[in-house]
């Protein structure tokens, strides 16, 4: 009995986790070595473009993971997680802008190009400190976390749940979209932040930097996966499931459910912020478009397609859908949104547990048979 209990809590005992972590390790080794060691005329060479694309997928996977933690386990459907992702991205972008120094078009040693263009003569107060890498990294987590805390505290304390909460999160990301579009905000208006040169002294154009960023993304994803797995298998995780299924009942057991929800929401937002910060140096731009409500809805589709409430399902979904998107938009760009919508409908109707649910269906049938036998014996 106690062996079974500790077995459940052990992270590596879970088959899905093992498969996911080994696949991730394999991709790092093959892609990393394939780019740096294999000569570029070989068929086994992995182009830098592919590395960047893979790195981008991993950032999206981390974003999907953050949504699955709150939606799959706690039933909080956030349609505004793109906002936390974009805020993390902006914090990273501000650091990268400050790193340009006097290499910008206007050659101002302190002011980024867009500020010179707007005739500003000094750096706004909130841009100070972003020339330090550590400061920017703290902000990557602090800003999304703080916003999530304030938003979550107000919403969950007033017991806003379900559809109403989802609509509020949409409004949140839309409001930020409009705000960041304004030049007066001091974040580069609709052009956003771009033209980055280097990160902690390494050129962003170099292959080795690209591969390193990709490997860091993979490690962060693995770490976030393990921490999230720990949380959802802890007692906290079981309370989250209780809140998802019967919040009132959980309150009557003596748990202050709003506190549990707020802290989980903050954790999830921090993960999304980190994903955004890893995304920006790899794609080389961050603009208000990342706040678009559609982006946040797309994340939910990834999670639904992969299968919610499993963590690795969300990651698989994010990678698969984005791979399909890359392919599809290459062939027939206008139809992508229709395909995405169609995919969501198909998954909701035919695969309520996503792709992962399809795979584990057979396994649970076998499990049920073996328990029946055990009970009979």
């Amino acid at each position: 009995m106690s062996a079974a209990l500790t077995g459940r809590l052990s992270i590596f005992n879970d088959k899905g986790s093992r498969v996911f972590l080994s696949a991730l390790a394999l991709v790092i080794v093959v892609a990393g070595l394939g780019n740096l060691l294999v000569p570029s005329d070989s068929v086994f060479h992995v182009s830098t473009l592919t590395i960047t694309l893979l790195g981008k997928y991993l950032c999206f996977a981390l974003l999907a993971l953050s949504v699955d933690v709150i939606w799959g386990y706690c039933g909080i459907l956030s349609l505004g997680h793109g906002a936390f992702f974009a805020l993390g991205g902006y914090a990273m972008g501000m650091y990268l802008m400050r790193q340009i120094g006097d290499r910008g078009v206007y050659g101002d040693p302190v002011l980024p190009d867009f500020m010179v263009f707007l005739n500003w003569d000094s750096l706004p107060w909130f841009w100070h400190g972003f020339d330090q890498f550590w400061f920017a990294m703290v902000m990557v987590m602090l800003i999304p976390g703080l916003l999530a805390f304030v938003f979550g505290w107000l919403a969950f304390r007033s017991r806003v749940t379900g559809v109403y909460l989802s609509i509020m999160t949409q409004a949140l990301t839309y409001a930020l979209l409009l705000a960041f579009f304004r030049n007066e905000m001091g974040f580069g208006g609709n052009n956003g932040l771009t033209d980055f040169k280097d990160i902690v002294g390494f050129s962003l154009q170099a292959d080795s930097t690209r591969v390193t960023l990709f490997i860091i993304s993979a490690f962060v994803l693995a770490l976030a996966y393990l921490v999230s797995k720990y949380i959802v298998t802890s007692k906290y995780g079981r309370i989250m499931v209780s809140i998802r299924d019967a919040e009132n009942r959980t309150r009557f057991l003596g748990y202050k459910t709003e506190k549990y929800k707020v802290w989980l929401f903050v954790y999830s937002a921090v993960l999304a912020g980190i994903a955004g910060a890893l995304y920006v140096p790899q794609v080389g731009i961050i603009n208000p478009g990342e706040f678009a409500p559609l982006n946040s809805i797309e994340v939910v589709v990834w999670v639904a397609v992969g299968g919610r409430g499993t963590l690795y399902g969300a990651i698989a979904g994010a990678i698969l859908v984005n791979f399909a998107k890359t392919r599809f938009t290459g062939i027939f760009p206008e139809a992508w949104l229709f395909a995405l919508g169609g995919l969501f409908v198909v998954v909701t109707i035919f695969l309520p547990k996503g792709i992962v649910g399809l795979l584990s269906k057979r396994k649970s049938v076998l499990d049920a048979q073996s328990t029946e036998k055990a009970e009979a014996a």
Partner: protein, 285 residues
Amino acid sequence: MKTVEQAKEILHKEQVWSFMQSESAVDINVDKDIILYIEGLTVSFDGFKALNDLNLYVRDGELRCVIGANGAGKTTFMDVITGKTPCDSGSAYFGQTINLLDKTEAEVAQLGIGRKFQKPSVFEALTVYENIELALKTNKSVLATLFYKITPKQHERIKDVIHIIGLEPQTHLLSGALSHGQKQWLEIGMLLVADPRVLLVDEPVAGMTAQETERTAELLTSLAGDRTVIVVEHDMEFVRSIAKDVTVLHQGSVLAEGTMEEIQNNAQVKEVYLGEDMVSEGGAA
């Protein structure tokens, strides 16, 4: 007018003034042998008075049955004292010192008032064991649960409770797979493991078979004494089998209080609630 009422409250004969209580006094004071003081509770929803000047005193360790027709205010009464529904006026004290009306659901639960709902509500995506584990009386703060490790003692306690409710073969089965009666029992188990001072049980035998009903009656009677049990029930047969004292609610206030026999012979009760067939049945018993 308001000051007069405030003055009245302050000078009430059983009032323990807050400045006379030490800050840390969270002990339940039952010196007067009464655990729940419900006085003048009034709750209205859109003008409809669900509770109308309800007064009720529950002795420590007794088993009290609350009966009443639909809409008599039985469930609302439970909602108010467990912090779910705010009330318009009145007071509810747990022991002599603890005001229940300014507490949230979670705080009331942590004070030791457990509640079982009318509809069995267990966490269907968790196993029987996990359901009981969540109800355990432990530190329920966020950090404590994040790094929570079950102790052997707690493990034994959970197994004991599962034994009492007779769900040992289903220990690691998802509770969603249990039958209706088993879910009711699991919920009672969740109440037991929390070790509450007061148990509020809303229609525990609804939908149970005769045999299950009998076992439930035995369990509830055995619990009274150490704990105070308040049962809301429709099933008169069941009430008669467990109750010593019965309170009849009608239109949000107490209509009558006494032993089952007294209640059955109360003319007013007969008229509004028990009805003609009840009288003949009571005569037969």
